[in-house]
Symmetry: C2
Subunit: 233 residues, 2 copies
């Protein structure tokens, strides 16, 4: 009997924004896997650190941070092989995933490799979008409104086109793309509807109107474009 792979969403970063199901799985895990930077630092592991059993074996997957796809693909090939070996030995593996596993999560790379051969159970997590909206005090969508989620690396032309046709918008992975995104929003006359949030739910959280956002943004930053409260009165 092969083991089961659990892809466990950890939420946006605050350890108490894990779900009860995620906490129970991590606390009972014998084998834990997670992505890390090349120096071994892992945001996923840090979120779950208080719950990882002392005796658990840890499969660390160092993933190069690069826009080239081949090095990351090779890293996921290696991680999937390590996890597959544990599953084949009959061990369950709990894979830690920042946010939600299927929402811009690296778990989908493991899922694509392993789901054809093994049972995989995904535990959904709180997305960064929900955390950012909560921190900003900005309701996202109600009734028959649309929500558009855009990655910051899109081109200026594409961001402009997508935002112009949208209602509420969440822009992910802002980081070094902040000046470009700011130009797009300013040109569309939407700056007064835009909120900048970095590291939502963490002690270092920053929430600012976009007009007051810093020049340099970390990778874990987002911009929300929302309506005011009036539509909901």
């Amino acid at each position: 009997m092969s083991g089961i792979l659990y892809g466990v969403g950890l939420g946006p970063g605050a350890p108490d924004l894990l779900t009860l199901r995620a906490a129970r799985l991590i606390e009972g895990a014998k084998v834990i896997a997670y992505p890390a930077l090349e120096d071994g630092a892992s945001f996923a592991r840090a979120i779950a650190a208080g719950l990882i059993p002392a005796g658990a074996r840890e499969i660390v997957m160092p993933v190069p941070m690069t826009t080239e796809r081949a090095p990351a693909q090779a890293a996921y090939d290696r991680g999937a092989a390590d996890i597959a070996a544990a599953l084949e030995a009959g061990e369950d593996v709990v894979c830690l995933c920042e946010g939600d596993p299927f929402f811009y999560g690296s778990f989908m790379y493991l899922f694509a490799r392993l789901a054809p051969r093994f049972e995989v159970i995904v535990v959904p997590g709180v997305t960064s979008i929900a955390a950012v909206a909560a921190s900003a005090g900005k309701p996202l969508v109600a009734r028959n409104e649309r929500l558009t989620v855009l990655p910051g690396p899109l081109s200026e032309a594409e961001l402009t086109e997508r935002i112009a046709g949208a209602e509420s918008v969440a822009i992910m992975k802002v980081g070094r793309h902040l000046p470009k995104i700011r130009r797009v929003i300013e040109a569309l006359g939407l700056t007064d509807r835009a909120t900048y949030v970095e590291r939502a739910s963490l002690p270092q959280e920053v929430v600012l109107p976009l007009s007051e956002a810093p020049e340099a943004a970390p990778y874990f930053s987002m911009i929300l474009l929302t309506k005011g409260a009036d539509p909901w009165l």
Copy 2:
């Protein structure tokens, strides 16, 4: 000193998909508020039932299910007044919210009424989208992909236009709009990318390819349009 209003996301329905923070707040609550149907039945209360302290006072907000706005607005006016009375008396109030409070959640109607006068803290929850993707085993978005969230009640023309220009799509509130949505997806040639999910995370959960979906869908049903696994290999 006025009390604090907590808008607490409960996730999609499974009681163990609450966050640790939500569980702690509910377990410690002296006053709990939640929306209900006109007969008093409340999905939100049912999700949290195992955590509500025996002695907690409950503020029930019956909300008429109608497409007219005025009756619902009047119901939220009354609920906000009841909650305000508790806050003014110095009591904290934990408001139970299905899913995430700011993602198609009725909490935003209370937020609009009460946030100008009281401290309001929102606890984000697992959205139905994340739960549906997990149940379906369908990764939503990765890298520089876009996600479009559309409500099923939109017109056939608007759904067609929005889906045609989209990458991954989540269609909410499918319910009685299923035949229309099916026509749109069929006309766009996307049926083989479409998954139908009802009551994600609950024991009665149903996951089917759209081509095999029932004729009649409950309100809590969604359709996902996703790519296959190949892009992530």
